[in-house]
Amino acid sequence: MTTAPRTLFDKIWESHLVDRQEDGTCLIYIDRHMVHEVTSPQAFEGLAMAGRKVHRPEQTLAVADHNVPTTDRSKGIADPESRTQVETLEANGKAFGIRVFSMDDMRQGVVHIVGPEQGFTLPGMTIVCGDSHTATHGAFGSLAFGIGTSEVEHVLATQTLVQAPAKNMLVRIDGKLPKGATAKDIVLKIIGTLGTAGGTGYVIEYAGEAIRNLSMEGRMTVCNMTIEAGARAGLIAPDETTFAYVKGRPMGPKDADFDKAVAYWKTLHTDPGAHFDATVVIDAATIVPQVTWGTSPEDVVEITGRVPDPKDARDEAKAKAMQRSLEYMGLTAGQPMEDVAIDRVFIGSCTNGRIEDLRAAASIAKGRTVAATVKAMVVPGSGLVKQQAEAEGLDKIFTAAGFEWREPGCSMCLAMNADKLSPGERCASTSNRNFEGRQGRGGRTHLVSPEIAAASAITGRLTDARKFQD
């Protein structure tokens, strides 16, 4: 018997089917579940009220990241609400038998950086978290997506989710990236091409030479922002780069199990001739460093480009949205992006808070000085990233240049802790969302790569980092 060619998504989906109802609704098994303090308290409360237990506590990992301070932690969390949330997570971990990486644990960090780092994230798995950037883990060829709190409760109680299968989209980046273009530029370009709703209803598989050539860190950056194109999950087929990253991770398979796992992981790729409901091909050569100008992640332009004109919008609704964005952002159509002066720089987040990102930013910062008008901060994605960076002397490079070197957490990506923009402040940020108020009420966000963020910190304006590269 021959089976029809299947996509990577189809393979993972089918291997996790517990039940399929007559109407097509599926019950899928969830291998890994991560929880953080913001979207889990109501789920644990729901369990307690119904007298339910956690079905497989060992398959859930908890870590506080959104509310944690990035400054000295010895005095705890000043904000009482933030403190309550973090304490509630710890208490729920104890009550339900779930592992928690506490704030003083070296392994603490942004949940999407911690999972891969620990080998909790592995190829071929289904991985969920009450957080839309769970898409990050798709970089390992695992089906990973964000869920709401009701679903968090459902996973805790049953280790499954009720889902309808997604449609398949292939995004292929052919050829080699030009010098100076990064994984962040790839994904910003994709979002600009698809639009912020372009991926709604799909799981996106990223393929092509430029994707293959990315490190695991780069692949995570691409998959991370899949949700910004509307798709809940992004996937990259596992390969030798993936296996090398996973090998030896504390929670990953060891010895014979590892070899057995790799043999299975090697089957996780889209078969030739498999059907995609949509295909988008981008020539890598056209990907130059990108920056967002507006308040939707689809509002991208080349760093060397200009603020677009609402008159050129695709329709009236978009023109209106663009006008609102321009007013919010304090920009004028036609203005060169590199003329835009900034007040703040944020380097970090689940998008760009990994070791390679810090290395890239440090390579620009080295021997240079942050502009007097700019307050710049670097927030490592986890305690282990911080440790590694310090071992390489990156912290010294940053602090010598005038950057603040902080403790790990989500920080100013969403400004739930004390790190936020004041009204009107403009920030070059390596995070993932430029929504109105995202980094603080009235704050203005430009999404960029770590290289551009560092270069902009130096000049005080949005700056093409290629100027600082040999």
Binding site: V18, D19, Q21, D23, L27, Y29, D31, V38, T39, Q42, E45, A50, H55, R56, D79, E81, T84, Q85, G130, D131, S132, T134, F145, G146, I147, G148, T149, S150, E151, E153, H154, A157, T158, Q159, T160, V162, T196, A197, T200, G201, G230, R232, G252, P253, D257, F258, K260, A261, A317, K320, A321, R324, L414, M416, R433, F435, E436, G437, R438, R441
Partner: protein, 201 residues
């Protein structure tokens, strides 16, 4: 979860595309460990000025829409984060139905878990409903889930699609976890088989 059968009420027009979850409920309200009490913070930054005073022009502050039960919005409503605080705040305000040309996947899914009906309709139909909603307090909509039909203020009927299983759960106010636990044997069987085939998982 409360059942959703029929809903009659004023519809508030919000003619914006890409209304994101940070707009629906900003981060400072995500620090709660409860599901309730978020209605007053719904659309916080559009609804209140920096001093915390109501912005009179914002639709939900206008007298006609203060008790709106339906929201009509633009394309890609609910994009952004997975925060269920977004539907919780909508529900707590008193809105139980959102109509738009498109929704972000996670938000759409979260609505059904909370007794909110998101209705996806073609752009032209939404434009018509948006116009009708602009008539304010006299513009009462009726949403009948069983019949899958919206009755507009001028009596016109608009049919809509909804997934049959989700419809069933909403009509009966069913608890998902309870339904899944009935299949516990299947889950156990799956786990046993997997343990053998993929011991590293």
């Amino acid at each position: 979860m409360d059942k959703f059968e029929t809903l009659t009420g004023v519809a508030a027009p919000l003619p914006m595309i890409n209304v994101d979850t940070d707009m629906i409920i900003p981060k400072q309200f995500l620090k709660t460990i409860k599901r309730t009490g978020l209605g007053k913070s719904l659309f916080f930054e559009m609804r209140y000025d920096e001093a915390g005073k109501e912005i009179p022009d914002f639709v939900l502050n206008r007298p006609a829409y203060r008790n709106a039960k339906v929201l009509v919005a633009g394309e890609n409503f609910g994009c952004g984060s997975s925060r269920e605080h977004a539907p919780w705040s909508i529900l707590d305000f008193g809105i139980r139905c959102v109509i738009a040309p498109g929704f972000a996947d996670i938000f759409y899914n979260n609505c059904f878990k909370n007794g909110i009906l998101p209705i996806k309709l073609p752009q032209e139909t939404c434009d018509k409903l948006m116009k009708a909603a602009e008539n304010g307090a006299n513009a009462t909509f009726t949403v009948d889930l069983a019949a899958q039909e919206i009755t507009t203020p001028d009596g016109e009927k608009v049919a809509f699609d909804v997934d049959p299983f989700r419809k069933h759960c909403l009509l009966n106010g069913l608890d998902d976890i309870g339904l899944t636990l009935v299949k516990k044997t299947k889950i156990d069987t799956y786990e046993t088989a997997r343990k053998t085939a993929q011991p590293w998982v």
